[in-house]
């Protein structure tokens, strides 16, 4: 069964992921790809604690996630793979393309990148720096379909529309 959702979300594991997407997609596992969390038992316990017992959570750095990607694709359950920022997703897409070409990531969901200095608002839940915009464009240039959508009931907004600010309408 494929990984159902590759998502960039700076809140990592939270309500929208566990409940908003997790329930309707019948998610059985979440893979959190974050170098800092992967190196900290305390951080892992923090994110594992709130997840319902029927949902397994795994933690990897980018290299580890790419290495394990084929295994996740072969899992009988549905999964969500999360990164907390654009750069991590970009590195992951490239690493997976090298380690597991048959399972190359073709779609990325921008689920939540919130305000911080240097970022410009592109949607209600998407703020991007010029570097992040370039990275997302590069992802799209690599053949990845990038769209922004916070919850399943929302409309997926294509990257071009996001960057043009048309998602603010």
């Amino acid at each position: 069964m494929p990984v159902e959702l590759y998502r960039i979300d700076d809140r990592l594991i939270h309500g929208q992921v566990v409940v908003g997407w997790g329930r309707p997609l019948d998610i059985g596992f979440i893979v959190l790809v974050d170098d800092e969390v992967a190196a900290s038992e305390w951080e892992q316990e923090l994110y594992r604690m709130g997840v319902p017992p029927e949902m397994e959570v795994s933690f990897h750095d980018v290299a580890g996630a790419a290495e394990a990607h084929a295994r996740y694709r072969a899992d009988g359950r549905r999964g969500i793979l999360l990164t907390g920022d654009v750069d991590t997703m970009r590195r992951l897409v490239r690493a997976v393309a090298a380690a597991d070409p048959a399972g190359a990531i073709r779609q990325v969901n921008v689920g939540g990148i919130h305000h911080r200095p240097g970022r410009t608002q592109r949607m209600r839940f998407v703020f991007l720096t010029p570097d992040e915009e370039r990275e997302l464009r590069a992802l799209a240039g690599d053949g990845v379909q990038v769209s922004a959508q916070d919850v399943p009931s929302g409309r997926p907004v294509p990257l071009d529309d996001v960057l043009a600010g048309r998602g603010l309408d």
Binding site: D10, R11, L12, I13, H14, G15, V17, V18, V19, W42, L46, Y47, M49, G50, V51, P52, G112, I113, H114, H115, R116, R124, F125
Partner: protein, 130 residues
Amino acid sequence: MSNAIAVVAGHGDFAAGIVSAIDQITGRGELLLPMSNRGLGAADIEAMLRDALAAAPVRVIFTDLPAGSCTIAARRVLRERPDLRLVMGANLPAVIDFVLAGEAAGDDAQAVAHAVERGRLALQEVGGAR
């Protein structure tokens, strides 16, 4: 400084709704600080929570979802403030119970345990007959 004894934090208008309801029922809504995570990233939620704690003698944090970003932020804060207590999955009966008991500034452990039990007991189902 506010005299709030607890923060209520969650998604959307959850906290504002809880505080509004408690104010209507008990007239003691000022004992609670409502917080919403709407539109905020993880760091901003944590910063807002720390600001609230600096502004009031808060002893307890109530959050909605155990996996929610407010809960995650609260757990990070508790790492440095182990004197605080966190109740996740909070509902109106639980928070009311704490407000009424906790106002006396007695035994927080007992007041929180009582509130949690009240919240659990309040979840009931009726009907469904065929």
